[in-house]
Symmetry: C2
């Protein structure tokens, strides 16, 4: 699938990485794992990433280190995956789940059994073993209908939940349940970014390996975990990210 894309987009194209991600998402859409609304959401992310300079900021590194520490300190970590995340970063999600001993739960905003099955198949074909979400037997208080469903062995009994490209209502409901929420989001102003305990503002294919790398580095080093958590302040971090964007806009003129 990727090889076809690689040959069409010239090596020298200035927006090559962005175009490859876009094509990967369109492939996921054609394969039935990404919803039409997921394509629009991706576009919003593209614009924010473009404003960030399409690179991993210092703030993203600080947040990713705190995210890794939160996951390593967790008794029952769960990584929540939707269609866009599965299409873009299945392997990266699975690698992080293995490193921190997390379960993976599929949670879709526009849920259908068919789409959950397809995402599960993609994750399993990439080596995932503990994927839940197909039979959501519990619910998240305050969320209506299928959007509030979750699994007893997954999100419902988790202490730390990592969400990526997540809806604001759902992030808020998870924190109200007392979960510690780690979010990956490209919009520093989104409700998810402002509600999660730790928010990594970076593109998902970058953010997952970044968190995995720090987790490997800090594994078993309690001082490093303390330090990573102490050094992170969400409001300060998001404020700095917004300043980066504002400064990029100023320099653009």
């Amino acid at each position: 699938m990727t090889s076809g894309i690689m040959t069409e987009i010239p090596e020298t194209h200035p927006r090559r990485d962005s175009l490859i991600l876009r094509e990967r998402l369109v492939e996921g859409f054609k394969g039935g794992i990404v919803a039409p609304q997921g394509l629009i959401a991706h576009g919003r992310g593209e614009a924010m990433y473009y404003l960030l300079g399409e690179r991993t900021t210092k703030e993203a590194r600080i947040a990713a280190r705190a995210a890794a520490a939160a996951l390593l300190r967790s008794e029952r970590p769960v990584i929540s995956v939707n269609g866009n995340v599965a299409a873009l970063a299945s392997r990266e999600v699975i690698a992080l789940a293995k490193t921190v001993g997390a379960r993976i739960e599929i949670n879709l905003f526009h849920r259908s059994d068919e789409r959950v099955s397809k995402i599960q198949a993609v994750l399993e074909s990439n080596g995932a073993t503990e994927v839940v979400g197909f039979f959501p037997d519990e619910s998240i208080p305050g969320l209506e209908g299928m959007r509030g469903r979750c699994s007893s062995e997954g999100v419902h009994s988790a202490d730390v939940v990592l969400v990526a490209l997540e809806d604001g209502d759902r992030t808020e409901a998870l924190t109200r349940m007392g979960k510690k929420v780690v979010a990956i989001d490209l919009n520093p102003m989104s409700r998810t970014a402002r509600t999660a305990d730790v928010t990594v503002v970076d593109e998902v294919t970058k953010a997952f390996p970044l968190i995995s790398g720090y987790a490997e580095e800090m594994l078993g080093d309690e001082d490093a975990l303390d330090n990573a958590l102490v050094k992170y302040d969400r409001a300060e971090n998001l404020g700095a990210v917004m300043k980066t964007i504002a400064s990029n806009l100023g320099l653009g003129d």
Copy 2:
């Protein structure tokens, strides 16, 4: 089509207008007039519009007045329409075409005869009479393949071309051909925004009626046309738009 959307999105929802546009685009996608890549592009626009405060800026009004003047001064104005523009603003495009005496040409980045036919049907069912683009018998120098095709009676012989949500390569190629280009674009940093002679940074369903309104107001008033063109400076205008975004980001914290 709209009535179903109206009933689903509460009147009081803070992002109601944005959600209605999104649903209109998804409808257009389901109806075969919007490409999957068009959904992603719409998301990019949503993010930029969100950063602009989802309102028409003073700069957009100045640019729209200059756009109206450029179209009224034109001997052969053409409005270039793609799938997203047709899905979002067919009636608004047609109203402007009538006011300034412009032809409408359908030009698709991901072209198929089927999609062109469907867009033409949507335009004609909304009252358009002079729509070209189904038989592109000419080409725009410097653009490869179908992306460079255009119509001899449309873009190829136009002196002023209005493009909306247009690809940067195409905008550049049109200016190299000596066309005066008026662009509607939500990203003040895009190549289209920076290449066009007049760039209106606003959402399409707002921008078209804004230009139409100024055109009606200035019709036959040569002094007003001169004044509108003299008062507009693209670099200054785009710089002010970027300052607005940067200031919105600063206030967001």
